[in-house]
Each structure stands twice: as structure tokens, then as C-alpha cells.
């Protein structure tokens, strides 16, 4: 068996591992967290703005 054949099997194995992990994590996250929370990102809002507003509110 040549080095290239071994590398090819290793590539399949690593790919399966990485894709399997992503799929597992995707399902796990869906089971642990609520959908409303996962989809709570809103365009035009960000945490830097939120933090700045909180700081401003705190000063007042």
C-alpha cells in the first residue's frame, strides 16, 4: 500500500470525523438551547452598542 493510498484513507477518516463532530454539535446545540434564543440575532444591533448603552445608562 503506497503512502498516497494511506493518505487517501486518512483524508476520508479525518473528513468523517470533522463532519460528524459538526453534525453532533449542531444537534446538541438544538437540543440544549431554545430556538428563540438561537435565532435572536437581529440585524443592525450588536453587543458593542448594547454595552455602550448600558455604560451610558449606568453613568446616568
Amino acid at each position: 500500500m503506497s503512502i498516497w493510498t494511506i493518505a487517501s484513507y486518512a483524508a476520508w477518516a479525518i473528513s468523517a470525523l470533522l463532519l460528524g463532530w459538526m453534525l453532533f454539535d449542531l444537534i446538541r446545540v438544538g437540543a440544549v438551547y431554545g430556538e428563540d434564543f438561537l435565532m435572536s440575532a437581529r440585524e443592525g444591533e450588536d453587543e458593542l452598542l448594547q454595552e455602550a448603552e448600558e455604560e451610558e445608562g449606568g453613568r446616568k
Binding site: S2, W12, L19, Y33, G34, M39, A41, E43, G44, E45
Partner: protein, 464 residues
Amino acid sequence: MSTAATAESGKDRLFLLKVLGPIHVWALGVGIVLVGEYMGWNFSVAKGGALGSLIACWVIGLLYTCVAMIDSEVTSTVAAAGGQYTQAKHIIGPLMAFNVGLYLVMAYTMLEAADALIVGDLLTQLAEESGVTDFNAQAFVVLTIAILAFMNYRGVLMTLSVNFLITAVAFIAIIVMFFGISPWNEGVTIFHGDLLTGLPYGWIGVVAALQFGMWYYLGIEGTCQAAEEVRSAGRSIPLGTMCGMITLLIAASLTWFMASGLLPWEYLGQAMVPLYDTARMTGSPMLQTLLFVGTLFAAVASANGCINDASRAWFSMGRDRYMPTWFGAVHPRYRTPFRSIVFLIPIAVSFAFTGLLDQVITFSILSGLLGYTFMSINVIKFRRKWPLGVIDRGYVHPFHPLPALMLLTLCTATYFATYLGYGPQLLSIMVFYIIASIWFALHRYKYVARGDQFTMTWPRPAGY
């Protein structure tokens, strides 16, 4: 919402992580494009000769300079993931937004597949040089997509930091080779005097070359997909995009100069890896190795940036319910659009497994071209609805509406050029988008979050 979620995030809402700076924007834009300097651009030589290719390089460079300027202005005000899709949604309307979103996803996913195919081809070449004849590259095509998707899944900062490093290596390889061939020794180490033969097919050949001239720059507009993840969109996006465009103009001109000075146009026009072949002509093993690594890195960087951009566009469409809302989720730990990233993996692998590199790239280019046509109309409407001074802009592009009109004219010329070489593909992709538009108008539009999607705190547009 679960308690765990709140505890982990520390807030009751998720956001994409704002961690990027101008160098990441540069890495995203140049990373996607630079592979076009290593291969693909040279098909323009087959259409118009070496000089025709240089004219196409600079004319299309003008097209992309217009794209970069227009994009920088609009994105500096619309700081949201989705890039041109989000611009279309705010400035033109839902049907255009849906189409632009599809152009982006198709263009980047197909380009990603093409890049993975290139990695497979390079490794096949390496295996063949080692005497292996039955090498199967499919495992490495899948591995490339899997590793890059994994990085994208785990966080944008690491993804684009890696992209910066490998893109910089690929760009430096071009610069090193330029000085390595001693370009000041005309007739000794470089032979433009003998190899430049005018325009073999006349000016129609130059027009036909425009389509492949796009390879020098295709994807630089992808910088604006990072708008929601940069710390200061108004500054970082214009700076990263314009520096990226300057980098590409330099890289494109140097690439043409080296290849056309060492390879006859008849060979150059059909070479698969022209820059690597140019390095082989120098006889320097160091330059050959460097250019092989540069080609590999450029292809990987391009695929990496494409995964980033396609997933942001798909995520944004999900968030606004142009696509199922499930795709609009953000990972609570890594803060990435993880479902969109995973969803697009099998699609990219399917395109890659067709093995039809030229067809896949042609469809990618056509989707990009449709997007540029939209940009010219978009910026004219943007300036009409919100004139200068009405809203804050991080960058104002000069000489409006000249760049928009020039962009529209050059896009029209490139459509004609594409029709000359790839007429059936052009027509079939038009039919695809028309059918998709009918599906959107008749079926999907009723699900769109019509009011919520307009998020910019802009005043009412002029005339409304």
C-alpha cells in the same frame, strides 16, 4: 429560553461576534480572489492574445474598482451580514434581495467547489510526479471542504486570521517570483520583445477576453459580508476593500508581466497552472516550490473565504425568512451562523464531485456578474433616496454617477463576451433565476418578515 443559554452568553440575545479588523477584511477579499492570479486569467490570452489579456485585465480592473468603491460606500452604512443582499433589501426591494442573495450563495458555493477541485488537481499532479498513477483526489477535495467548514464553524476570528496568513504567503510568492526572474533583463531573462504578437483575433478577441479578465478580481466584493463582524464597519470595510483592490491590481499586472514574458501566448492560453509553469521556465527549484505552495494556499484561502461569505448570505436570508428561519441561528458559543455553514457543505461537495471545473466556475462568474449589474442600479437608487448628508457614510465614492454608469457599461460588454463563449450557460442560468424568482413571488414571499427586515435607522427616503 434555557437558563444555560443565558448563563453562558451572559445576555438574553445572541450576536455574531464583532472581532474583525481591516486586515481580516483584506484577507477575506484578497483571499477569495488571489487564486485567479495563479490560474484561470490566462484563458483570456486564448481569446485575445497576450496584449488582449492585458487590456482585459485593466478594463475589468476598472469594473472592479467601481465595484469596490460603490460597495465600500453602501456597506459603510448598511453594516450587516448578507452584504449586497442586505443592501438590496433596504434600497430596492424583496424580489431583488432574494435574487441577489441567491447570486451570492451560488457564486461563492460554486467557487468553493472549484477551489477544492483545484486542491485535488494539484495533489494529483504531485502524486503523478511521484510515480503514482491511480491516485484518487476525491478524499482530499472532501477533506479541504471539511477542514475549512470546521474552522468556519468554530469562529470567524481564527478563520480569517488563518486566511490572512496563507493569502499573504500566496501574494508574497508572486512578488518574490517577480524579483526572482530579474524583470529588468529584457531579452535575457524575460522576452516580451519576442513573445508579444499584437492582437491575433483583433478587437473582437479583446472583447471576448473580458469574461476571463474577471478571474483577476472575482470575489473582492465579498468583503462586505464581514460587515456585521467587524469592530468598525464604517472604517474597516472601505479600508480593507480598497487595500485589497490595490493588492489585486498589483498582483494581476505582475502576473501578466511574468507569464507573458516567459511563455508564448499559444501555450499560455490553455495552461492549467500558468504561474507555476512560468516558475518552471526559470529553472529555479526554489521558485517552483514557492509557486506550488502559493497555488495551494491561494486555492485554500479562496475556498475558506467562500464558505464564510456563502454562509453569511444564507444566514441573513434565513433571519429575514427569505429562506427557512432555521438557518438564521447563531451558535451560542462560537457565535457563527453554524447551521448555514453545515447546510452548504453537501452542496459544495456535490458541485465538486461533478468534476466540471470550467462549468462550475462559469456559473460562479455569471452569478457574480448579475450581482455587479445590480450594484450599479443599487447605488444610483441609494444616492437618490438618501442623498449625501442625509445619513452618515463611512466612505463616499467620488464622481457619482460615473462609476455606476461605467460599471453598467462594462457589465453589458462582459455579458456580450460571455455570450460569445458560453451562450447556453448564460441563458440557462438566467432561466434558473427566473424560475427561482417565480417561486419566491408565488410561494416564499408570504413568509418574509416584511416589517422587521428593515433595520437601519435611516430617515424616510426622498420622495416617499
